[in-house]
């Protein structure tokens, strides 16, 4: 028992370093997903047929292929093919970012579609351009409605980030595995890894809940 405890304590700084790597991947991926996702959602709702078709293909592809396959496909295949020499960390962040973009676009699209159609028409009637109506009227509301779905996506990407080790990114899970291989304390170390993921999930979801309350429009919520 004491043996186990000291093994965990010894490994903790090393695992916490891994948590920083995990956080880096998740923040990067969620940021990339946010930017691409918003554009795709707007494109899919308001775009012409070509844009809608292109976004549709993208979403089908990234939702249809397992993340593990995507990581291999891009890192050893596509990125190498176009001469993009990314590190394992950058590549895993980018691939996870592109994947979550597909899911996030559907969160935002759902939020946009939940707004009454009349709002867009009213904005146009007031003389706003399409662009102005989307930026000033539609998105401020839609993004607020998206926070619960987005926080869900955060907790999924956080755990998907464990897959980054197939490319050699030493995040929480890979590091737990290394220490377990040396010390043969497998179960205690996986429990520790689980706790770290739990704490990160809790912190992130909690922060997003606070954000949701903070940006709520008075008298507008349910």
């Amino acid at each position: 028992m004491f043996d186990t405890l000291s093994a965990i304590l010894e490994a903790l700084p090393y695992l916490l370093e891994g948590a920083l790597v995990t956080i880096g991947i998740v923040i990067g991926a969620m940021g990339i997903g946010l930017i691409i996702g918003i554009h795709m959602a707007v494109g899919q709702v308001y775009g012409n047929r070509v844009v809608r078709w292109a976004v549709g293909i993208y979403v089908w592809f990234f939702r249809g292929v397992p993340v593990l396959v995507l990581l291999f496909l891009f890192y050893f295949g596509l990125f190498a093919l176009i001469g993009l020499n990314l590190s394992a960390f950058a590549a895993s962040t980018l691939v996870l970012g592109m994947t979550t973009a597909a899911y996030q676009s559907q969160i935002f699209r759902g939020a946009i579609l939940s707004l009454p159609r009349g709002q867009f028409q009213a904005a146009r009637a007031l003389g706003m351009s399409d662009f102005k109506a989307i930026i000033s009227i539609i998105l401020p509301q839609a993004l607020r409605f998206s926070i619960p779905g987005w926080s869900n996506e955060y907790s999924i990407i956080l755990k998907d980030s464990a897959l980054a080790f197939v490319l050699g990114t030493s995040e929480i899970m890979a590091r737990s595995h290394f220490v377990a291989s040396r010390t043969y304390h497998h179960l205690p170390l996986y429990i520790t890894a689980g706790c770290l993921y739990f704490i990160l999930t809790w912190l992130g979801v909690r922060a997003l809940l606070k954000l949701e309350e903070k940006v709520r429009i008075p008298g507008y919520a349910h």
Partner: protein, 241 residues
């Protein structure tokens, strides 16, 4: 977004001209592992560090997933693999190997109080664990058909995981190299049942086919190291027998 961009930039300029990257399986003690301070350590790491110093290059040890370690080498993400890799004809089709530096036998590992024999594992309809992507996994699969063995192969990410499941009782025995088996026996209540008829294998350093210059350097360094007293020190440090 700025942070993300910065991270990308830092991470994409990591290839210095003279620094070579050695890909390791950090789940393979005592040849390669991550030590208490979180740094790569082990027999192969110490050996390569010595060679690097003598031959005048700097080296970084990069832990990688064993399944993806050869693709990483081919895709030039790493420069060589010095991590207890057996020289096999299949691998020689894709990479070149240095001179052999360590002879390895494959053994079965079972619970300490078990009275299983090697034959019982082979023909007694047992569940047998093995690390995925290893030469012993290939050999057992191929020979089971030829020799009429009836064990069921269960695949694991690493040898220590297979040992863990031997202790859990989910598999009767696990097949692995003798050195990590000794390492497991020193730390956990398991024992070596003995060899099971697989040919003796040799470890070598793997490099890309076209990197003949690097292969020369590594071969020269290895030859020097094995003639040096430091080699015996290393053997004594990592293999207590």
């Amino acid at each position: 977004m700025a942070i993300v961009l910065a991270l990308f930039m830092i991470s994409s300029v990591n290839v210095c001209a003279k620094e070579l990257i050695n890909g390791i399986d950090a789940n393979f003690p005592p040849f390669a592992y991550v030590d208490k301070a979180g740094n790569p350590g082990g027999f192969d790491i110490d050996a390569v560090n010595w060679i690097a110093k003598k031959m005048g290059f700097t080296v970084k040890h990069q832990p990688l997933d064993w399944d993806g370690i050869i693709p990483n080498l081919v895709a030039k993400k790493i420069d060589f693999i010095a991590s207890g890799m057996s020289i096999t004809p299949d691998r020689q089709k894709v990479v070149n190997f240095s001179m052999p530096y360590w002879e390895i036998k494959q053994v079965f590992v079972a619970k300490k109080d078990s009275d299983l024999t090697v034959d019982q594992v082979l023909t007694g309809k047992k569940r047998l664990g093995v690390q995925r992507g290893t030469s012993e996994a290939e050999w057992l699969k191929d020979n089971a058909v030829k020799k009429g063995w009836n064990f069921e192969l269960i695949y694991y990410d690493s040898a220590p995981m297979a040992v863990e499941d031997v202790l859990n009782g989910r598999i009767s025995a696990a097949a692995m190299d003798d050195a990590p088996a000794e390492d497991a026996a020193a730390k956990k209540p398991v024992k070596l049942l003995g060899t099971f008829g697989m040919h003796v294998e040799n470890f070598g350093y793997a490099v890309r086919k076209q990197d003949t210059e690097l292969l020369d350097t590594l071969n020269k360094g290895l030859k020097m190291l094995m003639a040096d007293p430091y080699w015996n020190e290393l053997v004594k440090k990592y293999f207590k027998k």
